[in-house]
């Protein structure tokens, strides 16, 4: 079973992926799929509008380069602004995780006797 991704989460995943180095769109899609063990099902096409939006915001930068097989592909890499964005999204993610973790672990409070 796959899980549909939220828009904001997709940004975080792409930024995180690119933090290891430049990669083309297909590579990003494949890497996400492999890392998550096919749990997160990204509809591959929806990756691209996210990439373009992030490029417009100046978080990532695109350049054409040749792949190992000698084919032209558009490579994306993080900009300084993108690194900052990644850091703040990670922090937000951690906060959210803790909050959800507490909710999940919570036990019902004792009720006052009537």
């Amino acid at each position: 079973m796959g899980i549909d991704l939220l828009q904001g989460t997709l940004d975080l995943i792409v930024l995180k992926t690119l933090s290891w180095g430049p990669m083309h769109g297909f590579g990003i899609a494949r890497w996400v799929q492999q890392t998550t063990g096919d749990v997160l099902q990204v509809e591959e096409g929806s990756l691209y509008p996210a990439l373009y939006r992030m490029e417009n915001r100046g978080w990532i930068k695109a350049d054409w380069a040749l792949t190992e097989n000698g084919r032209r592909a558009k490579y994306y890499k993080l900009t300084a602004a993108g690194r900052k964005q990644l850091a703040s999204e990670l922090a937000a993610w951690a906060q959210m995780q803790r909050a959800i973790g507490r909710i999940v672990a919570a036990k019902p409070a004792k009720r006052e006797p009537a």
Binding site: H24, G25, F26, A29, R30, E43, E44, G45, S46, Y48, P49, Y52, R53, E55, N56, W64, A65, L66, T67, E68, N69, G70, R71, R72, A73, K74
Partner: protein, 887 residues
């Protein structure tokens, strides 16, 4: 990540991207790569190709929708980048321009200084023009206020009789209000320092309603104060209040003494009411006496009307004319019906001064244009020197448009820098003009205002276009290969030389126009200065004495006091003779009134306007005015003797033609109540209103028979009259120590003051013309020097072949003079076509005065010859061998 075999399409597209981004292609390539990679992966895992394609497409999602979303996103990006790039380019060009200008400091300083002077001068004259001509008048309904005069054959009569005015005011329904003011005479203010004459205007109470600006203090007159025998009230001008009364607020409702009588100050007028010097004036009610309502003869009042809104000036004029026609019918021997001329208040105030302002504006603009010509010349020369730089930029891929923009931005930077520096010049110029003797209404209010700033900005950029665009386009039209091969050295300069010659000819012709303008004014003032005034102004001293009516309450007392003063002064050693009059020529206007002979109705050919002068017996002798016929007045022409008069030659001619006027009767004032006087003499004409005006008609009466309490005393000395002043003061004080001597001045000084404004204009135009000439000469020199430098080789050959230095110099100077001659022809034609605008501003010459044209042409040719001679001499000094090696 590197490969050896990039596919062709992409390479081709990459090439395209060099020119322009191709977002559509990029999106397609990217998605194609993705899908193909996915298919390859699936096939590698053992899936058949067809199935793999379907699977890859399924995983990808809706390709068409995503593609269109990506197009939109990339277009947004491209647009933002284009904007960014545009700014970046401008900033880059500006930086580059500044760097280039810093590298040529001499050029930059000369260009900016030229522009600063030109733009500054033009902006200051613009500020004057704006304030004097364009700025709306301060009155509440200025667009509906008109002044009215009566048509008089060819022109207009300035003023209207009381009868006409009051009938108009009563009956003309097209007007919200109508007002009248009468002349300006001096009232003597006492009690605040020395007795001082203050120019005073008589105004109807409606004057303040018709031309309303709220008072600074108190109020204006009321209708019940504007009647015969009404309370004596006065309104002070703002400057009078500030300067004489220290701006004290408690002046309102206090009494001040004018002509020995108490007047209550009711208010202080808004400063805007005074548009011309002197600013210290006051207003008192016109308070027309009853008999004036039936006076249809004496043209005395300036009339203003405020039209009701929606009434056309034309309709109002017809209404007034209808009334005039009826009045002429009712008073056939008096009222005049020649038509009414309305004039908008703005035109009436600025009047002929408009032309002077426009002329000055044209003059400074022309100087600026010559300056721009010089800068264009310098830029052309620089453009040549920078050929290599431009060629390299071109070779590196800059388009011609880009290079033109770049070079033009340098000009704009120059223009703006010149403009900013010009603002300081403009501010100084305005201060100078405001304190100058120029008699322009509202001149004192001139500021470097917002419109002037806008004007300066527009002018700066305009100048940049004028001097920068052509050199920039030319510089960018560089033959790349040729220039690079030459290593940037000059190849063919023929086209540039042609352009430079054209520029210099334009500069010279503009200078010609300017100089002819200045020349006309110089000639005109020479003509004016050579006009004999009709009397002798040398060693003639004049001053005013006013006997306060409170203490000198009878004509006998007045006459006795003046006689005593005259005798005391006559006894001073060095005084040759002394005369008295109510107003002296040139110093002040005469009292303009109607003079007529027997049988006249006051409007026919038996009557005419004339100045009335009451004069003492020695007046003619003292002032040096010749008596052409008959006799002067004598002591026998006393108060109780037969009434006698002397007429000027012009008045005699006007009323009696060629017949001898001696013994004829003449009268002044109203034909209803003639005061007949027998003419005993004819005096010469004199330019009593200044040399530029025709001599007015003069009617002289013995001061014993036409007694005035305020007189001008004229003293003729043997030598310098100014040294006599202390003795004269003592002589006057011995008669009455409280009397003030006012406005003591030699007649020569008074006449000089008359010339102050025309002299100032002449000086200013000469300055501008001279500046234009110098700039044009510098331009001519620059071009000649360039042309000579181009021909160093050829000149060397000529000299080597035996031409003398004289031959060579002559040849170069001749070429310079040819340029000058073209400039003279073009400029002369321009001047010939335009100077008639100055017809009303010059005196004694036509605006196409051949002498002026000839002298200016000669001056210009000589200057150009000199400008050509300097480089010619330098060129012929070079060793011929050196010159031959120059190429």
């Amino acid at each position: 990540m590197t490969g050896s075999n990039p596919d062709r399409t992409a390479a081709w597209r990459r090439y395209l991207r060099f020119w322009r981004a191709n977002p559509g292609g990029d999106v397609r390539d990217e998605l194609t790569f993705h899908l193909e990679s996915a298919v390859e992966e699936l096939v590698a895992n053992g899936m058949p190709v067809d199935e793999a394609r379907a699977e890859a497409a399924r995983r990808f999602g809706d390709v068409t929708r995503i593609k269109s979303a990506l197009y939109t996103l990339s277009e947004q990006r491209e647009r933002r980048m284009a904007r960014h790039e545009w700014w970046h380019t401008i900033v880059q060009d500006l930086t580059y321009a500044l760097r280039q200008l810093r590298k040529a400091p001499a050029f930059t300083v000369v260009a900016i200084a030229t522009l600063a002077l030109g733009i500054g001068a033009t902006t200051s004259i613009f500020s004057v023009a704006y304030t004097v001509i364009m700025k709306p008048l301060p009155y509440a309904h200025a667009d509906r206020i008109y002044t009215y005069s009566q048509r008089n054959g060819k022109g207009s009569m300035c003023c209207l009789p009381y009868g006409n005015f009051y009938t108009w005011q009563r009956e003309a329904s097209d007007f919200e209000s109508m007002a009248a003011t009468s002349g300006s005479r001096a009232f003597t203010l006492t009690g605040y320092g020395d007795p001082t004459p203050i120019r005073t205007r008589l105004a109807t109470a409606s004057y303040w309603r018709t031309m309303f600006i709220p008072p600074v203090l108190g109020r204006y007159f009321r209708d019940d104060e504007d009647r015969e025998g009404g309370p004596k009230v006065a309104v002070l001008s703002y400057a009078l209040w500030q300067n004489r009364f220290g701006g004290r607020k408690d002046i309102v409702n206090r009494a001040i003494t004018l002509n020995g009588q108490p007047y209550t100050v009711v208010g202080v007028a808004a400063p805007e009411y005074v548009m011309q010097k002197p600013a210290e004036i006051l207003w008192v009610p016109l308070a027309a006496p009853a008999w004036r309502f039936n006076d249809f003869a004496d043209h005395e009042l300036s009339v203003y009307g405020l039209l009701k809104s929606g009434v056309t000036p034309e309709a109002a004029r017809r209404q007034l004319e209808t009334i005039d026609t009826r009045l002429a019918h009712e008073h056939p021997h008096h009222a005049y019906d020649g038509g009414v001329i309305p004039m908008g208040i703005a035109d009436a105030i600025v009047g002929s001064q408009k032309q002077i302002v426009y002329m000055l504006f044209a003059a400074v603009a022309l100087v600026l244009l010559i300056g721009c010509g010089n800068i264009a010349n310098l830029l052309l020369a620089r453009g040549n020197a920078r050929k290599a730089e431009v060629a390299v930029r071109g070779a590196l891929g800059a388009t011609r448009g880009r290079i033109v923009t770049q070079l033009f931005i340098e000009s704009v930077v120059l223009g703006v820098a010149g403009g900013v520096a010009g603002l300081a010049v403009a501010e100084a110029g305005i201060r100078f003009l405001v304190t100058s003797p120029a008699a322009l209404p509202r001149l004192a209010d001139t500021r470097l205002s917002a419109p002037a700033l806008l004007f300066a900005i527009a002018l700066s950029i305009g100048c940049a276009v004028v001097f920068g665009l052509v050199p920039a386009i030319r510089a960018a039209r560089v033959d790349l290969q040729q220039t690079l091969r030459d290593g940037g050295r000059e190849s063919k300069g023929a086209a540039r030389a042609r352009l430079q010659r054209g520029l210099v000819i334009s500069e010279l012709s503009i200078a010609m126009v300017l100089l002819i303008g200045a020349g006309l004014f110089i000639r005109s003032s020479m003509q004016l200065a050579s006009v004999p005034l009709g009397f002798d102004t040398s060693n003639l001293l004049a001053f005013d004495i006013v006997l306060p009516p409170a203490r000198y309450d009878s004509s006998a007392k007045l006459e006795a006091a003046f006689t005593q003063i005259e005798q005391n002064i006559a006894a001073i050693p060095g005084v040759r003779s002394i005369g008295q009059t109510n107003t002296a020529p040139v110093r002040g206007w005469g009292t303009d009134w109607t003079a007529f002979r027997e049988g006249s109705n006051g409007h026919d050919e038996r009557s005419t306007d004339a100045n009335m002068r009451g004069v003492s017996t020695d007046f003619f002798k003292t002032i040096g005015l010749p008596l052409l016929r008959g006799r002067a007045f004598t002591a026998a022409d006393g108060k109780n003797s037969a009434r006698v008069a002397i007429v000027s030659r012009g008045l005699a001619q006007a009323l009696y033609g060629d017949t001898d006027p001696i013994g004829k009767l003449i009268s002044n004032g109203s034909p209803d109540k003639p005061q007949w006087m027998e003419i005993v003499g004819v005096a010469g004409d004199m330019h009593a209103s200044g040399p530029a005006q025709e001599p007015p008609h003069e009617l002289y009466m013995p001061s014993a028979q036409w007694v005035n309490g305020a007189r001008t005393i004229l003293v003729r000395g043997n030598a310098s009259v100014q040294t006599l002043m202390p003795s004269i003061r003592r002589a006057v004080a011995s008669v009455d120590p409280l009397l003030a001597i006012v406005g003591a001045q030699t007649m020569d000084e008074t006449v000089q003051q008359q010339f102050a404004y025309p002299n100032f204009l002449r000086w200013l135009l000469t300055l501008l013309g001279g500046t234009g000439l110098v700039l044009a000469a510098v331009g001519a020199y620059g071009v000649m020097a360039y042309l000579v430098s181009q021909r160093t080789h050829e000149l060397g050959v000529r000299i080597a072949l035996g031409a003398t230095t004289g031959d060579v110099r002559g040849m170069i100077v001749r070429q310079g003079v040819q340029l000058g001659a073209l400039g003279v022809i073009v400029g002369g034609a321009l001047a010939y076509a335009t100077t008639h605008f100055a017809a009303s501003m010059v005196y004694g010459i036509t605006p196409r005065d051949p002498i002026t044209f000839a002298v200016v042409a000669a001056v210009l040719l000589i200057v150009v010859a000199v400008a050509a001679y300097v480089p010619a001499r330098r060129a012929t000094r070079i060793d011929p061998l050196e010159a031959l090696r120059a190429n």
